[in-house]
Amino acid sequence: MTMNSPGDRSAGILTGKYIGQRVHRKEDPRLLTGHGQFVDDVSVPGQLHVAFTRSPVARANIISISSDYARDVPGVHAIYTQQDLAEFDVTMLAFFLSPPDVKTTPLADGRVAYVGEPVVMVIADSRAIAEDAASLVEVEYAEETPLVTIDDARHGAPVHPGTEDNISAQMGEEEIDEDLEALLQAAPLRLTHKVVHQRISQSPMETRGILADPEGPKELTLYITCQSPHAVERWTSLALGKPDMAIRVIAKDVGGAFGLKNHPWKEEVAVILAALKFRRPLKWIEDRYENLIGANQAREQEMTLQIGLDNDGKLLASHGDYSCNNGAFPQLSECNIAVHMFMWAAYKMPAYGFLTRGWYTNTVGYAAYRGPWAMESLARETALDVAARRLGIDPIDIRRNNLVTLSEQPAMSCMQIPLEDVTPAECLEKLLGYFDVSAFRREQAEAREQGRYLGLGFATYIEPTGAAGAMPIMTGELAQVRIEPTGKVTATMSTHSQGHGTQTTMAQIFADRLGVAYEDVSVFEGDSSRGGFSPGAAGSRQGVIAGGAAILAADKLAEKVRTLAAHLLQAEAAAIVIDDGRISVAGHPDKSISLAELANIAYGEPDRLPPGMESGLEAQHRYQPPPMTFASAANACVVEVDRDTGFVKILRWISSEDCGTPLNPAVVEGQVSGGLAQAIGMVLLEEVGFDERGNPTAATYKDYMMPAISDIPTFEFVHANTPSQSVGGMRGVGEGGAIIGAPTLVNAIADALAPFGEVEVNLPLTPAKLLSVMEGRDLTPPKVAAPVAVAPVTPAAVAEPAPAADAEAAGPVVIDGDWKMILSTPMGPQEMQGHFETSGDNLSGYLSSPEGQMEFTGSVVNGNNLVFDLKVTKPMKITLKYNLLIDGDKITGKCKMGIFGSAKLTGERL
């Protein structure tokens, strides 16, 4: 079999009998038949179950905890508070393994800082009994006013006592640098673009869970749903500070993670400590309600991006001001410098400055989610489209004019990111070869004439993948492989699949490089006691780094096979051919030996080996790749926004991505598709919300809207395979879809609604928000249940009535009398009757509704313009300011309702 040389880019992408093919996954037979082993499927003798009593308030001091009733429930073994766990003095490390910036404990320590914070844990015979008892624990709270939003955090009293403010992390300059400001001011177009990203629940279908099994005082085995058993072992060892304890972490199958399961957090750590204290195996399986309120969440970011452009759309300068709601106990105090590092990395941007901050609030803490820095692509790509519309430039051209092309590399970005082989511009051209833009524009124009609103959105981006060495926690990978005496191949890897299919892709590599059948290769992973150290699934790294390690380990082993076979068959090593488990000598069909026969000799008959050769057929290699490998992509999608309902239908979606060597195109497309579906959820559906007291408003999947098959189109793929500089030429593909999907879809929606004006990028873009754009008024449901008569309406959305200049010329205006009027509020139309009497310029009268009658006096009439105030005291003291115009028998205008904004009024004479 011929094989490309790994790492030789001139050879093109790596291919083989299995590499690059859509082979069936090794994982599927067990998963399809219900024989996967997820954490709740594991039981050990003597295990007990844990449930938590969680805080029902977002911010309070704990006055007292009483567990008398709970303790009386039959089957309850123990009830612990933080006081009981304090002896362990555990350090709740951040993602980067640094101690947390604020005191973080497994259970609440005298104070709660978010709704859902675990306060008390119950250990019982069954999960049901533990939950029964947890609900009987009585906790008395002294409640305080919580800070829920980033804006609350800016002005409110510190979430964590003893801190100066709520800034959890900050980088960049408070004021825009003078030189940058000068560049922005001199720009013919200075665009200020604000993007608000809602909070997201990672929502792996398998919730969090752990089975902690203390095996005596010196050994601990953890079964935990996670992203890397090795990384969890490392984190737990450091957090516990017990170097003499042997910790083993096992996770065979994991039902999705997406950044949530990088390392244990409050509940898992509480279970570990309680198991050590109670000396019994303890299991905790999170339910979905707990997952939606108590598991750390992601996103909730704001970005104000300023861009200076010339009249041809050439980028001149930019500034980004970013904030992220970190909640109370983030897994990393996140001000996400990567957002700024990669903001313009693929674009010819001369100057960029930023301010980046994370904020503590009384909400559940921050954790990673697929493409944690994705805000850069959302902000940049949507801003570019706004700029293109302002300047009258095609959105394709604004990208063509500014992207760094392959022929312009090597190049250095404005934030000093070296670019050698990024291909977003090439991905875009490849995409355009597949999609007829001018035909679409004709279709769009015809549709608009029929009152249908089609839109086309593009986005381009690059993504750092396969990082190793740039951050201490991101390392290389070890591959261990052996040819068994049976002739079968067994590999032990530190990769970890939460759906990634690494048992499959690694087996494809071993089969090709060793010349054996795919069916004869078994790959084992998911156990921290096996293989080498690896951070597992994080940062789109496994295909790139473990793939390289597998190639190099297999090649080492194949070399040994060739050397041994040449010795035994009395041939030149170069003439040895290994194919389908059979070894032969080129040109000598009579000289042949099976791999099993060779392996038996290698292990069992050391006398027959060449002098100095180690017995056995085993090899390992630890691969250290380049510090960073970039993936690139361009995406396009076509939508139709329904004029009457505001619903978005996605008609087409094309992904043109460059992942270098695709080890298995079906796996690559699966990764991209999953990310794109999550992006569609972000743009249209999903939202973790809170009320003003910090109560989560989406605590079930009825309220937290996960994308279903009916929400997701069929994705079309254009593969642009530019080999990377890592061995095998792979580029990471795990996160890209979730990054590029959101701006692609937002841009398509904005393009569809361009005739109505700009669409504010405030995710999710619900039908109500899109209807608001099309109707020119705010139809967004109110966040807070407001008093019925004073429902919030954005003042800007209501046109200021102007007195008709020609009103007198048109004839005398008749105001006096009774009018039937409707005030349009998002709570529904409010009917009322108005009675007006004029005397010269003075106006008096009353408004009546089922709630009662309110009189007004001392008001002014100016031609056909009525201006009067009504002071109401129910449900709160507020002055309603009416400004109305009369035109014949019609009356229109608005009512300003103080902090609640304005509502539109229409009516007619009775």
């Binding site: 038949t33 219900g34 199958d253 994991v254 997406f258 979905r288 579906a677 997701i712």
Partner: protein
């Protein structure tokens, strides 16, 4: 809490149990009977991962009590493949179409499709895809599930045979 004796057939074998009235069928199948392929994704009837068939019809076992299954015939994802390990046609098609990644939602997907396809069943592509809207998959973006639904529909089975 009252306890109840139940007898039922699971994957072709007889099982009996002594269950609390509040025990869900899902918990009984997982914890008492050992069929851990029944996955609990939400426990409030939205995600579909716990779907099994009860007397041939797809049911969310998190929303049904074990006592309600007394006397019933239950099939889980463990009970579909042939004794020699040959995958059920639904399982085979899902594998060929790369319709799963983490595999947590998969047993439910398998059971719904199995209840709607096969001998004597007449579901169109649209009907099967519609049924799939009751299953949440966070990994795949539903691409392979959609292709599988198309292949398993009655109007496509001619090509399959």
């Amino acid at each position: 809490m009252s306890n109840h004796k139940i007898e039922l057939t699971i994957n072709g074998r007889q099982y009996s149990g002594d269950v609390e009235a509040r025990t869900s069928l899902a918990d009984f199948l997982r914890d008492d009977s050992g069929f851990t392929g029944v996955h609990l994704g939400c426990e409030h009837g939205v995600c579909g991962a716990c779907t099994v068939t009860v007397d041939g019809r797809a049911v969310r076992s998190c929303l049904m009590l074990a006592v309600q299954a007394n006397g019933a015939t239950v099939v889980t994802a463990e009970g579909l493949a042939a004794e020699d390990g040959t995958l059920h046609p639904v399982q085979q098609v899902l594998m060929e179409e790369h319709a799963l990644q983490c595999g947590f939602c998969t047993p439910g997907v398998v059971m719904t499709l199995a209840s709607l396809t096969g001998e004597g069943k007449q579901c169109s592509k649209e009907q099967l895809e519609g049924a799939m809207s009751g299953h949440i998959c966070r990994c795949t973006g539903y691409q392979g599930i959609r292709r599988s639904a198309a292949r398993l529909a009655y109007n496509a089975m001619g090509d399959e045979a």
